[in-house]
């Protein structure tokens, strides 16, 4: 690919992290878990995560991150909205159209994309292709999650890992040599591993989600050791493939951001790709695994620190339930990321929210209950980028 080939260019980066911080000690205490802060840090790399207040939905985080990405790009317009999420506001309809409406985007195409933790890169690859095909020219790609609504607080393997948050990027037409240009993408799946990461109930195969069902089928479950093996192998292979598509050697990569699933998985992938620790970036220590929001949040946090030179060769890779995996080669964007707090919908519209464990959710009564649409964005308050782990 020459440097002047038409390409989708990341021109805006947005993030939304709920203000409520949940420490490892709190996770252990709440779930009466047989573990410790030290065990969680050693096994996962996570020290704390964020949790959306009761009544704050995935769409509320997505709207904030999307608005922040628009502000980052200095525009109010996008002509397509793609929302990657595992935790939509409702089973039907998709969350994306309402987010587009709340952002004032008009009657643009808007849809959800379900690829679990690979969702954002699936979305980025899809938006890149749609832009280059002429379907749209300013697609807004958002990854947003409220895993606190699907994770079992009594399950050590997941309660200690996942957090809430949202990240977004706005794309525009440009050239492949520009900072932010998407250079190549690679996507894959293997449905034979569909049971490794799943919520058994709540879909058409097993619609019943009433509390009388056992926790094993009501809540998100992940078979960690098997996932580790697949995640390392698939992210490594997919990364090598996308680097080949881009014509880049792994030692030319200056910024590597893997899905923030587990620090040890990230270390294993980077080691196999022979990417030096100083070129690896992430935020798992401070926000945990935020699933589809993971990559854009890490991208935003790293960009906010100015840790990578715009234009530097960048490798993004993810793995998730499905099983799914995805990798994108891009030039590091030049956009300065913006952060916005969650944008809760009007209180009256939230009365239908029911969580599987609503009584144990923390209610943050200080959270704003009014629209924050016209509020001035606060200064960037990013999660610290933590790789290499200190």
């Amino acid at each position: 690919m020459s440097e002047s080939t038409p390409a989708a260019v990341i021109c805006g980066i947005g993030a939304c992290l709920p203000p409520r911080v949940v420490s490892n000690e709190e996770v252990v205490r709440r779930g009466v878990l047989e573990t410790t802060d030290a065990w969680i840090r050693t096994r996962t790399g996570v020290a704390e995560r964020r949790r959306a207040a009761a009544g704050v939905s995935t769409g509320d985080l997505a709207a904030a991150a999307g608005r922040a990405a628009l502000a980052s790009a200095g525009t109010e317009h996008a002509d397509l909205l793609l929302l990657a999420t595992t935790t939509p506001d409702r089973r039907c309809p998709a969350t994306a159209p309402e987010v587009a409406y709340r952002l004032g985007l008009g009657h643009v195409p808007a849809f959800d994309l379900a690829a679990v933790c690979s969702g954002f890169l699936y979305g980025l690859a899809t938006a890149d292709a749609l832009l280059r095909a002429g379907v749209c020219s300013r697609p807004l790609v958002i990854g947003a999650e409220t895993y606190s609504t699907i994770v079992d607080p009594l399950d050590r393997d997941t309660a200690a890992v996942f957090g809430d948050g949202a990240g977004a990027t706005l794309l525009r037409p440009g050239r492949s040599g520009e900072p932010g240009a998407v250079r190549a993408a690679h996507l894959g799946s293997d449905g034979s591993g569909g049971d490794l990461i799943s919520i058994a109930a709540g879909g058409s195969r097993r619609p019943d989600t009433t509390p009388r069902l056992c926790r094993e089928v009501r809540y998100f479950r992940m078979r960690g050791r098997e996932v580790y093996r697949h995640a390392v192998r698939r992210m490594t292979e997919s990364s090598a493939t996308v680097l080949g598509h881009a014509g880049w050697s792994s030692d030319s990569v200056r910024a590597f951001i893997g899905h923030q699933a587990n620090q040890r998985i990230l270390d294993a992938v980077a080691q196999r790709l022979a990417i030096a620790p100083q070129h690896c970036f992430g935020n798992i220590r401070d926000v945990g695994n935020t699933a589809a929001a993971s990559i854009p949040l890490a991208l935003a946090g790293t960009a906010a620190r100015g840790a990578v030179r715009p234009g530097a060769r960048t490798l993004l890779t993810a793995f998730g339930g499905g099983l799914t995996w995805a990798s994108v080669a891009a030039n590091w964007p030049g956009a300065a990321p913006h952060h916005r707090p969650p944008e809760p919908r009007e209180a009256s519209a939230d009365t239908d929210r029911r969580t599987a464990d609503s009584t144990s959710r923390t209610t943050d009564r200080s959270a704003p209950r009014h629209s924050t649409r016209n509020r001035k964005a606060p200064p960037w308050n990013p999660s610290a980028t933590t790789w290499p782990a200190s």
Partner: protein, 93 residues
């Protein structure tokens, strides 16, 4: 040709930072303080290097001794047409 035992020892000392003097044939992975994810990573590393199928989820994998693990890899190399160091493999990774 590199032996499985030498490779296993190299991986344990370089990648998992196990002190060389602890690497006796009867030492188990649990005894060497490899946790369950480390055991998965070790088996994945051996599988990639020797190009043989290894099921690291076998019951009691942590209780296998280094002698038993080396024998397991050797047996699968012998029984596989593709077994042996991966092309370009240069010691522990």
């Amino acid at each position: 040709m590199e032996s499985v035992r030498d490779h296993l020892a190299g991986v344990l000392t370089e990648k998992f930072e196990v002190a060389p003097e602890r690497l006796t044939p009867d030492a188990t992975l649990a005894g060497l303080e490899l946790d369950s994810l480390a055991v998965v990573e070790l088996f994945l590393t051996l599988q990639e290097h020797w190009r043989v199928p290894l099921d690291e989820n076998e019951e009691g994998a942590s209780e296998l001794s280094l002698r038993e693990i080396a024998a397991l890899v050797e047996a699968r190399c012998d029984g596989s047409r593709t077994g042996g160091p991966a092309p370009g493999a240069e010691g522990p990774r």
